[in-house]
């Protein structure tokens, strides 16, 4: 089965790129809280739920917006998400621990606790993009392209998916990266990219 990378995005504390082209520079060195909001406004998205998400989910959300802007419609059952992550939901985990540190001032909050799992970011992407296929979160030190390629390729072969969002999203103490790839079994026209999806897929030079 021939698989293509149709789109690619990358967000770091320095900048946001889509398909190798600069979208937004963080020239004022804003914290993610501010840079993320600036990017959200820049993308002219209307999705108020964005403001309820924790940083990890916001980061995955923004990266995926950059990735899927050329898609008008897809059959959600034929779309999968397979992401790598290193720090789990560390930022929300710390927030939850802060709320229970003092037995005399105990205030755990559902709005924080529901974000204390790394796969919640995949759940948010599924809701946003009506994706009902497999969603799996692997924890890894850094993007293991060979492993992800093997897993995603097999998934396409056995489950007959049309699209898969894959890559690596990680957020910890204001260091962060979202590096996402839209892989497709279809050779659609008018896609931002048309690259081979192979075990070196993360070496796309941009």
């Amino acid at each position: 089965m021939k698989l293509h990378i149709q789109a690619h995005s990358r967000i770091t504390p320095i900048s946001a790129y889509a398909h190798g082209e600069l979208v937004l520079n963080n020239k004022e060195n804003l914290t993610f809280n501010l840079f993320g909001k600036e990017l959200y406004r820049y993308l002219t998205v209307q999705y108020p739920k964005f403001f309820k998400m924790d940083e990890l989910c916001q980061l995955a959300f923004l990266g995926t917006e950059l990735l899927t802007s050329h898609i008008d419609h897809w059959d959600g059952e034929k779309v999968a998400i397979v992401l790598g992550n290193k720090s789990s939901s560390l930022s929300s985990d710390k927030r939850h621990y802060d709320s229970i540190a003092d037995k005399n001032n105990y205030f755990p909050s559902p709005a924080v606790f529901v974000y204390t799992l790394p796969n919640i970011m995949l759940g948010e992407l599924c809701i946003r993009h009506k994706i009902t296929g497999e969603n799996t979160c692997f924890l890894m030190e850094k993007l293991d392209a060979e492993f992800m390629h093997t897993y995603v390729k097999h998934l396409f072969e056995v489950e007959l998916y049309q699209y898969c969002i894959t890559g690596f999203v990680d957020y910890s103490d204001n260091d962060y990266v979202a590096e996402l790839y839209l892989v497709s079994s279809q050779n659609d026209t008018d896609t931002p990219l048309s690259q081979n999806f192979d075990k070196n897929f993360n070496q796309i030079i941009f």
Partner: protein
């Protein structure tokens, strides 16, 4: 390629091996108790934790260099491996599932000596792989409450593509103040031991433990061939509905069950038994009943094991798969403990007392979790 589960271990409040856990379930013993300890929560609550004697039996001499969760993993893997022969470590992968890993290391008052680096699950998994002299970097999956089944499916896939011949699939989570306070603030914890599918169910009871399955393409690894089953098929999905609650209509669950049956090449009538998720929250159990009814599984014998183990989160898919396999092999289903009156709008055929079944060729294991995810696996008796 045929993929088998050849050996296993359950380490839980009910015992330190599969046989003792299965025996406890058969006798109707539950690991859930009232817990009076501010280590977990300022007020008493119901949950399933390992008692001191079991903890002591686990730790041995490794106490100082491994966390409690790591000790669970190490014990569980060692015992499961002892039921195999001829496993080539060079062709073996560790697939580990957990929702919160060593989250207790992040507590402000943590006083232990284990490096905080082990909060990162990949670092923890590496320490465990090193303990067993495994050569390949472990694969860690964290998909909320479906993590255990995700790990089984991941292992199956990576063996199928030829990367490995065998996988040690291990799922574990501990009870911690982090998790208890979180479920309490969601008002999801029952004020009595949980009662899956019952009309008066009031929510979950949380549990801790670890389950390990040795999954392989080579069935001769089994020391006891009577333990063999095939991991036949499986699938995963998302409801795309809500991050902390299931779809009301069970869309994602219907999808995974249909796909798992399709991949297995069998129909709903072929399933002799379903081990469902059955957390005993209002929404989960109702959603499952709607989904199973819609796909024609309303009369298939079904139970939840949460009343015995509590909800063991990242371990649940593995622990409950192992008891599913034991029931298939014994031809005997265990009652869904504390179930009295049907509490879902669509009927389910809940197992109420020990039930002998003449043949159990195919059984279905399902799970659903936070983030809207669902997973299903079909096991085939050999």
């Amino acid at each position: 390629m045929e993929i088998y589960s050849v050996a296993d271990n359950i380490t839980s409040p009910l015992g330190l091996d599969t046989a003792s856990n299965h025996a406890a379930c058969r006798k109707g013993v539950s690991g859930i108790d009232k817990i009076h300890s501010s280590v977990y929560y300022p007020e008493p609550f119901y949950g399933a934790v390992l008692k001191q004697d079991l903890k002591k039996a686990l730790s041995g001499s490794s106490e100082s260099s491994y966390t409690f969760l790591e000790q669970l993993f190490i014990h569980s893997i060692s015992d499961a491996l002892s039921h195999t022969s001829g496993l080539n470590k060079q062709r073996t992968l560790l697939v580990l599932s957990s929702t919160k890993g060593n989250i207790d290391l992040l507590a402000k008052d943590y006083k232990g000596t284990i490096s905080k680096k082990r909060i990162e699950m990949e670092v923890m998994a590496n320490a465990i792989a090193a303990h067993f002299d495994l050569l390949h970097p472990p694969v860690v999956v964290s998909n909320a409450c479906i993590s255990g089944l995700s790990a089984v499916l991941t292992a199956k896939r990576l063996i199928e593509v030829g990367l490995y011949d065998h996988a040690i699939v291990t799922g574990g989570d501990i009870l911690s103040e982090f998790v208890v306070s979180g479920f309490q603030c969601l008002k999801a914890i029952s004020d009595e031991p949980c009662r899956p599918y019952d009309a008066d169910r009031k929510g979950v009871s949380l549990g801790e433990g670890c389950g390990t399955m040795i999954i392989t393409r080579n069935k001769s690894l089994a020391k006891n061939p009577r333990e063999l089953v095939r991991v036949l098929s499986g699938s995963q999905s998302n409801d795309a509905n809500h991050i902390s609650g299931p779809s009301r209509t069970g869309e994602g669950l219907k999808l995974v069950v249909k796909r798992a049956l399709q991949h297995a090449g069998i129909s709903v009538e072929d399933l002799a038994y379903i081990n469902a998720h059955g957390t005993a929250t209002m929404f989960n159990d109702e959603m499952e009943a709607i989904a199973f009814d819609a796909i024609g599984l309303g009369s298939t014998p079904l139970n939840s094991l949460k009343g015995y183990f509590g909800h063991t989160l990242g371990a649940a898919g593995v622990i409950e798969s192992i008891i599913t396999i034991k029931q298939m092999k014994a031809g005997e289903l265990i009652p869904s403990i504390r179930f009295q009156n049907m509490g879902t709008t669509k009927p389910l055929n809940i197992v109420r007392s020990i039930k002998t079944i003449s043949a159990c060729e195919y059984a279905l294991k399902t799970t659903s979790g936070f983030g809207g995810c669902n997973a299903a696996v079909v096991y085939k008796n050999v």
